[in-house]
């Protein structure tokens, strides 16, 4: 019966969606924890900037399926399963977050930056009170790109046994079952749209908040 098939898909899908979310959220949190501080130091140091952006760009150029494959034989960070997938997803999410942090901070009006220094702000005060608030919309825009792409890329993680909605897609491809493919692809797409809208709202709200009131 079709309804039984759908019910099974739904039950399995809820679990896979949970796995998928876990992969995405963990990867994004780690990518932020690395990317934002690294972006802050890269903004004030040309050498770190070249190295960090270069490294992150190279990470970005490796095809995702290949990267998942490369990581399998590497000890500690590699192998089969979720942690390998997370390492790969972090590498992909890193570039937009890192780059937008750097761009956002360097994009602060030099007159504003100079007057903050001339008012006697310490480096920490300058960062906390001026650079980060003014860079925030740009940083959130990077986070948004990273999140949306990670939701898509995470479907490939199923190829190395990390679970997630990709399980449906790979199984569907293997068994030429369109319904299975859709059961993985549609929720992933919806999730991406939802994340995009939510972070887009946050980005806009922040920009408005800082120019209108508060």
């Amino acid at each position: 019966m079709l309804s039984d098939v759908l019910r099974d898909l739904f039950e399995e899908g809820t679990g896979l969606l949970g796995e998928h979310l876990m992969l995405v959220v963990t990867s994004i949190v780690i990518a932020c924890a690395i990317g934002i501080p690294l972006g802050i130091s890269a903004a004030s140091n040309v050498r770190i900037r070249r190295f960090a952006l270069g490294f992150a760009s190279i990470g970005q150029t490796i095809p995702s399926l290949a990267l998942f494959g490369f990581l399998i034989p590497i000890p500690f960070i590699g192998g089969i399963g979720q942690h390998t997938a997370i390492v790969a997803l972090v590498l992909y999410a890193l570039l937009p977050i890192l780059r937008n942090t750097v761009t956002g901070i360097l994009g602060v009006d030099p007159a504003v930056h100079d007057s903050a220094v001339a008012m006697g702000m310490t480096k920490g005060q300058l960062l906390r009170m001026v650079e980060l608030p003014l860079a925030a919309p740009t940083i959130i825009a990077g986070l948004r790109i990273a999140t949306v792409t990670t939701i898509g890329t995470a479907t490939i993680a199923a190829a190395i046994g990390a679970g997630g909605l990709g399980v449906f897609i790979f199984r569907g491809i293997a068994s030429v079952d369109k319904l299975q493919i859709l059961a993985g692809a549609v929720p992933a797409a919806l999730l991406a749209l939802l994340a995009d809208a939510a972070l887009g709202w946050l980005e806009k709200r922040w920009a408005v908040k800082q120019t209108i009131r508060g």
Partner: protein
């Protein structure tokens, strides 16, 4: 002791000399205008005073102490700084902009608020109307007034002005120049004022220092400037007379 003293100060960056063995003093209560063309080094000289830059030769003394020996944060909080377009923080209200240094100095909020109101009144923008606005909700002249109020907030002994009125229309500029003269007679602060506008230099300066390619080619009162035979001074005076 002079408020500011340049002792044989040079400044070079990537092999290019910006300031060449500059020596002069700024006395307490005076307004020294540094006049010069674009690229003459006047802004560089100004930024050496609040340790935004460090001399590559000689030393700059503020209140008798070389800038190298000052804690830069302490030094800067003791010096007001006003720049073109004011450099106000776009995400801070007028009140937060003006109260910035007192807040950094951790004054009690009530005291900061009282000071902000007083300063806003002083620059002709009543707090009841303006305290809650954002810089983008102000005209260029109003922004510049806020810039002046912000610079006065920590009651600094020295004020630095880097072409503060350069981007304003002539009518607003005249307004603010008059405001400057009024504030000076009320507050008697030591000021160093950078401009390329000879008319502004003569109006505002108690003394004028004329910079040309990193050297000070003239230093004296506006009256002496008018009588100077230095070719660069003549060139600037010609501008005045051509108008």
């Amino acid at each position: 002791m002079s408020a500011v003293e340049f002792r044989d100060v040079s400044f070079a960056i990537s092999g290019r000399t910006i300031l060449d063995h500059l020596s002069f003093t700024v006395e307490r209560g005076e307004t020294l205008v540094l006049l010069g063309r674009s690229g003459s080094g006047k802004t560089t000289a100004l930024r050496l005073i609040n340790a935004m830059l460090m001399p590559t030769g000689g030393e700059v003394l503020v209140q008798g102490k070389p800038t190298r020996e000052w804690d830069p944060v302490r030094l800067r909080r003791a010096i007001g700084y006003v720049i073109q377009e004011a450099g106000l923080f776009p995400h801070f209200t007028v009140a937060r902009n003006v109260g910035l240094v007192p807040n950094l100095e951790k004054w009690p909020p009530a005291k900061v608020n009282a000071l902000v109101s007083e300063l806003l009144d002083r620059v002709g923008l009543p707090a009841s109307d303006f305290a809650g606005r954002f810089p983008r909700e102000l005209s260029g002249g109003q922004r510049q007034r806020i810039g002046v109020a912000r610079a006065l907030a920590a009651n600094p002994a020295i004020l630095l002005f880097d072409e503060p009125f350069g981007a304003l229309d002539p009518v607003t500029r005249l307004d603010l120049q008059n405001e400057f003269l009024r504030l000076r007679s009320e507050l008697r602060k030591t000021s160093v004022f950078v401009t390329h506008d000879v008319r502004e230099a003569i109006r505002l300066g108690t003394r004028i220092g004329l910079l040309r390619e990193g050297c000070m080619v003239f230093l004296g009162s506006p009256g002496e400037f008018d009588a100077s035979t230095d070719p660069e001074a003549r060139a600037f005076l010609e501008v005045l007379h051509a108008e």
